[in-house]
């Protein structure tokens, strides 16, 4: 009677490991090969052969440059993203918890969300100057919307039976937030965080293109203005790799935090 089924492993539709590796890398390899072949022998200055770009890469992205440009960019992204997460989740929890607050805030939120964040850069520059603060504010002001709106939805959608269970056992206030509301909203909050991550990377680059003395966006614009076209292309490659790595890290964190959610979904899918 007390047989507990083992922790479910996610069923793999793809079979063995080598086959999966093949599937994961097949398309990227194909695209790289395509780029390599079509660009090979290109004499167009703006469209250098991939061979040249890759040869330039180690010369451009030395350890010193990574420290001087990649690290500041990453720190700004991290600071902006983290503050957006804190503000978004905190505000979203309040707005989602009270129907009256929601009725007042929702139209304003929809408006603010509709404003494309890059247009805020000049405005924010006026207030926050051209230093790191400006860039962090720009990143945060763009990232906060998906996090905020998803948190509102997630908090609002807390199951009524769970809510009543908590109430009937006297679980209220901060304990209710911590043990019931936030975990219940966490899948939705993570959906917001994922959207915010890609917005954050975009805004990181854009804010550095406006007024900066270092950073990835700044460096790429510098190369372009100095007609160092292969160098510029390597910068774009770095950005692509960075975005990819960050999304892998994000997925790892999500798998850990939302392990219960994926398990729950798999188990209800199996039984239905």
């Amino acid at each position: 009677m007390t047989d507990i089924p083992p922790e479910p492993t996610r069923p793999s539709a793809w079979g063995s490991l080598p086959l999966r590796v093949l599937f994961v890398f097949a398309l990227p390899a194909l695209l790289i090969a395509f780029w390599w072949l079509t660009s090979d022998g290109s004499t167009n200055v703006y469209w250098p052969p991939l061979r040249t770009i890759l040869r330039t890469f180690p010369d451009v992205w030395t350890r010193a440059r990574l420290r001087a440009d990649l690290v500041p960019s990453l720190l700004r992204l991290l600071a902006g993203y983290a503050s957006a997460a804190v503000v978004g989740v905190a505000l979203g929890t309040v707005i989602g918890s009270y129907r009256k607050v929601r009725a007042v805030c929702e139209p304003v939120l929809e408006f603010l969300r509709a404003v494309p964040p890059p247009v805020l850069v000049p405005v924010i520059m006026l207030f926050a100057g051209i230093g790191d603060t400006m860039k962090i504010v720009v990143i945060a002001s763009g990232c906060v919307w998906p996090i905020l709106l998803n948190t509102v939805e997630g908090v609002r959608a807390v199951d009524s039976v769970m809510s009543e269970t908590a109430r009937s056992y006297g679980i209220t206030g901060p304990a209710r937030m911590r043990a019931v509301v936030l975990p219940s909203a966490s899948p939705q909050i993570f959906a917001g965080l994922r959207q915010a991550l890609s917005i954050g990377i975009i805004l990181m680059v854009i804010s550095e293109m406006f007024a900066a003395s270092n950073g990835l966006g700044f460096t790429i614009v510098q190369f372009q203005r100095g007609f160092a076209i292969p160098d510029m292309w390597t910068g774009i490659l770095v950005l692509g790799l960075l975005g990819f790595l960050l999304s892998v890290v994000f997925q790892l964190v999500e798998r850990r935090v939302l392990g219960w959610y994926h398990g729950l979904r798999d188990s209800s899918r199996r039984s239905s």
């Binding site: 009677m1 007390t2 507990i4 089924p5 039976v161 769970m162 056992y169 304990a175």
Partner: protein, 261 residues
């Protein structure tokens, strides 16, 4: 014996958008300490409203509910709930042990004491080794056992069970009914068990309260004079069991037609 649960003159009228619905008209009954009372009634008879008023989740229009002598104005500390929808009542992000322990964290208990209560409660529902599993890894019947364990660990004065076995299969249901009987006898808790199943009400209860159709009043209170020792096979075929269930059935039919008892 003193009354654990007193409901007197309870009335609940829902008002909204120009419509007045009188769900509960006038309910008065008591449940003595250590008693197991079943509540049956025709469907839509305001059982849920009544339960929510008792649990302090709804404020009655008039009348009052006393739990352990104290008037209910919010969820009373001496009351535990077992809901019908176990899948939505257990928290899927917590393992079974944490689910059972969560309400205890609101009480002023030492960590050791909490652990002891959790282990004891899980043991008594036959899930001693499930503490580390997630609820959704368990079958429906096992999940409802976890919900029962959570209520037991809370050490309530009154345990309210809202159609707890309506969503499990018949065999599991029989097991769970016997579990409730056993826990009730072992622990001497006061249980109010709401069900729409007449057989279940007669099999489980020491007393059956039959409710009328909405607006609800108590149609009849019936003492179940079956032996203490009950058994799924023999009790259910006993002539007295058949008489009692026939009587309850007739009363509910009468309630549906709106006749007084």
């Amino acid at each position: 014996m003193h009354a654990s649960l007193v409901v007197s003159g309870l009335r609940k009228v829902y008002e909204g958008s120009g419509r007045r619905v009188e769900a509960v008209r006038d309910l008065t009954f008591t449940v003595d300490a250590g008693e197991l009372v079943c509540l049956v009634g025709p469907s839509g008879c305001g059982k849920t409203t009544l339960l929510k008023c008792m649990g302090g989740l709804l404020t009655p229009t008039s009348g009052e509910v006393l739990v352990g002598g104290r008037r209910v104005s919010g969820p009373p500390p001496g009351m535990a709930f077992v809901f019908q929808e176990y899948g939505r009542s257990l928290f899927p992000w917590m393992r079974v042990g944490a689910n059972v322990e969560l309400p205890l964290k609101q009480k002023d208990l030492s960590k050791a004491r909490r652990r002891e209560l959790v282990a004891d409660a899980l043991e008594s529902v036959g899930l001693a080794d499930a503490a580390g599993a997630y609820p959704w890894q368990l079958s429906g019947g096992m999940q409802q056992r976890v919900a029962i364990a959570r209520a037991l660990a809370y050490e309530p004065e009154v345990l309210l069970m809202d159609e707890p076995f309506a969503a499990v299969d018949a065999q599991t249901r029989a097991d769970l009914e016997d579990l409730v009987r056993r826990l009730w006898r072992q622990r001497g808790i006061t249980i109010l068990f709401v069900t729409h199943d007449i057989d279940e009400a007669v099999y489980l209860g020491e007393r059956v309260l039959i409710l009328s159709a909405s607006p609800t009043v108590v149609q009849e209170q019936l003492k179940v004079d079956l032996p203490q020792e009950r058994d799924q096979l023999r009790t259910r075929v006993a002539p007295r069991f058949a008489e009692l269930r026939t009587h309850v059935y007739e009363q509910i039919q009468a309630a549906k037609r709106g006749e007084p008892s």
